[in-house]
Symmetry: C2
């Protein structure tokens, strides 16, 4: 008998039939003796509709009103799921963010959770075996009493935060895939579902383009040491043995992973653009002159590569931005030419970033070198390289993305047998 | 400079364009110097969608969850209208029922307003000229902290209650018609819009089938002596002189109506069924034996006519029910035959009720007699008659409804010149 948080995303609650399927998943865990809190997203498509309405009402809409509007999507799902659970004979009630309350910062549309009072939910677990059905993605700012939202994908973060608040044994994230894969199975059919992955590795995978979980929820899981289990909501509830080990991926602390691998997964992102600033002076303040204006323009810079100057006077600096921001970024750098002082800029928009992730890199040397050789064997030109403790990324021409990912997937022994 | 409540129903806020039109209506009043609270319904069709989802999730759904789900419709509109108002440069914020708070009874799905704290709204009128955009139809039950709704059409009631709480000068109900008419203009093209109508008369009109306003909102207006002005939301905001007298109908206390008419309006309802219970014993307890089981079966009985017994032993009793309840009502009476003791029952489903309303009836005699003669002249058979202080109703064959309404409309001098 344990305490569980179960989170269901938009596609899992897209219509009444699927909500009833979710109810049967919950019933399975309740029948197995668990105390359960469920966190739900808005029905698939609803949040987009609400966001579109806000934009149509005014492009410069008040984020406080935006939050009041879009938070309604999760409110609907929570009530409907409570109804569906009661129809199965299960004690259940819905909870809005303000009812628990889930206190957040005042940063409307991208609020951070400040604290959750789980006492009433725990009391009802004990007294009535009542399932708490909680609207995800939202909270309340205490001083103003206004509804806040956590930003897109925020329900994952809600789920992990609630799991921590009620000291759950595990936070199950039900989604439209059955776990986290070594890479995108659409690109590499031999991709394997990982049984376990460390928080740090999942963080890198998520921030490098694996869209299974919101990055913030993984960060929170890591800080709170709350195991997150990613599993499929489309499995038939009746086919799952609640006492067995269901298919899925457990995201947990590194210590719990006995057989750690050198490389865990390969992530990639095709929507990159590269800007190289040539012959800048090699002196303090130049990087600030480049990235200051970009930050002010709200452009998210990803890779930054700067080589040691050859002649001690000038050097080149390369960075990448999302393809959508390319034109604005180029424009910003051009306008700052006087302040930066460079000879010319070279740009490329058809570039992709491929990242190799694994906490085993910490203790193994030569991991990246193997990749560079393998890519060279395939005649794939590496435009830039950046590395971190448990990850390295290469920038290549987009056309070679699939080939590079497959090559590296095989190289590091990730292919399914 | 005054204080106004403006209420907009579902068709008036059906899409973003119409919400922006509503915002211009509000701006007109703000520009004229008024402090304004706006009460909004859900976008047309939304409440039905939400209700359908609740029913699909479970036919026996928890009314508390139903309320959490359906109250979201008004939440969305309130946020969107606040955004649209801000886009016009007006200070505005949305208020959910629980934020004000609007305290209600615990009767979920048909809660009654228990109290409204208007102090914060009044403070913001004074300090910031801030328009309060209030989600109609909903409140919160204080002890449980759960969302409640007032039942269908409840936003009218919300508006009048809020108007009373902030001591507004008037409550404007914007709707898809431009006022209250002497009868349905689709039946009688010569029907006139009334400039003023007394609360009591409007109550009778509303309960007799005129669907302009929710009956409870009129009751509340009468108790609180809050003038209600029914007007069109489809008028162009720019065409209206905020200092002039716009087209519409003012519902107010009788004392404010200088030139009171004998008859104010004609209402009718076609969806009636008639059941006559023949030769029941003329003794105490018989009526209870008939209407007790009907009340238990939740059947709403409207007209009840019982004649004085001719022979002192047996009498006939006739009553009407909504056509939708006819079969169940007949079944209920048949099953109670032993307890009631009657010879037979006669029924008719193709019957209509036509009601003549006017507070002038109190002081004028012979008003009904004129009607009976006029209907007889037209060879319209009266099946039953019931009367009250300011109203009388006749039950006739449905086929004659339009003819009867037109005849009475002309008879009492209501035709437009």
């Amino acid at each position: 008998m344990g305490r569980l948080v179960m989170k269901f995303g938009g596609t899992s609650v897209a219509n009444i039939e699927r909500i009833q399927n979710v109810a049967r998943h919950v019933k399975r865990e309740v029948d197995a003796g668990h105390d359960v809190a469920v966190v739900v997203s808005a029905m698939s498509g609803k949040t987009n509709e609400l966001v579109d309405w806000c934009r149509a009402a005014s492009p410069m809409h008040d984020a406080r009103e935006y939050d009041a509007v879009v938070a309604s999507g999760e409110q609907v799902t929570s009530g409907l799921l409570a109804i569906a659970l009661q129809a199965l004979g299960i004690n259940a009630r819905s909870w809005q963010g303000w009812q628990i309350p889930i206190l957040t910062s005042e940063a409307h549309a991208s609020a951070r959770i400040a604290g959750i009072d789980g006492s009433e939910i725990l009391k009802r677990f004990k007294e009535r075996k009542e399932v708490a059905v909680i609207a995800g993605f939202q909270g309340i700012h205490e001083a103003t009493g206004r509804i806040t939202t956590l930003g897109r994908g925020g329900s994952d973060t809600s789920a992990v935060a609630i799991a921590a608040a009620i000291r759950a044994d595990r936070c199950d994230i039900y989604t439209d895939v059955d776990g986290v894969y070594t890479t995108d199975p659409r690109i590499v059919p031999k991709a394997k579902r990982m049984d376990k992955v460390a928080f740090e590795e999942m963080l890198e995978l998520a921030s490098q383009g694996a869209k299974v979980l919101q990055v913030r929820s993984v960060e929170l899981g890591m800080v709170q040491n709350m195991p997150i289990f990613v599993r499929s909501s489309f499995d038939k509830p009746e086919d799952i043995d609640p006492h067995g080990t269901p298919p899925g991926t457990l995201i947990c602390s590194e210590e719990e992973i006995v057989e750690s691998q050198v490389v865990t997964g390969i992530a990639f992102s095709k929507d990159e653009a590269q800007i190289s600033v040539r012959q800048i002076e090699d002196k303090p303040g130049v990087a600030a002159a480049i990235f200051g204006p970009l930050a002010e323009a709200n452009i998210n810079v990803d890779m930054i590569v700067q080589n040691v100057s050859e002649d001690g006077k000038t050097t080149d600096l390369t960075f990448t931005v999302p393809a959508a921001d390319y034109a604005r970024a180029k424009d910003t750098i051009t306008k700052s030419k006087g302040a930066i002082g460079y000879a010319r800029i070279d740009t490329a928009t058809d570039v992709a970033k491929v990242s190799v992730i694994g906490s085993g890199m910490r203790s193994h040397t030569g991991v990246a070198a193997q990749a560079f050789q393998a890519l060279a064997d395939r005649k794939i030109n590496i435009r830039a390289i950046s590395t971190s403790e448990i990850k390295f990324s290469v920038l290549i021409d987009t056309a070679y993305t699939e080939l590079a990912v497959r090559t590296l997937h095989t190289l590091y022994g990730l292919d399914r047998d």
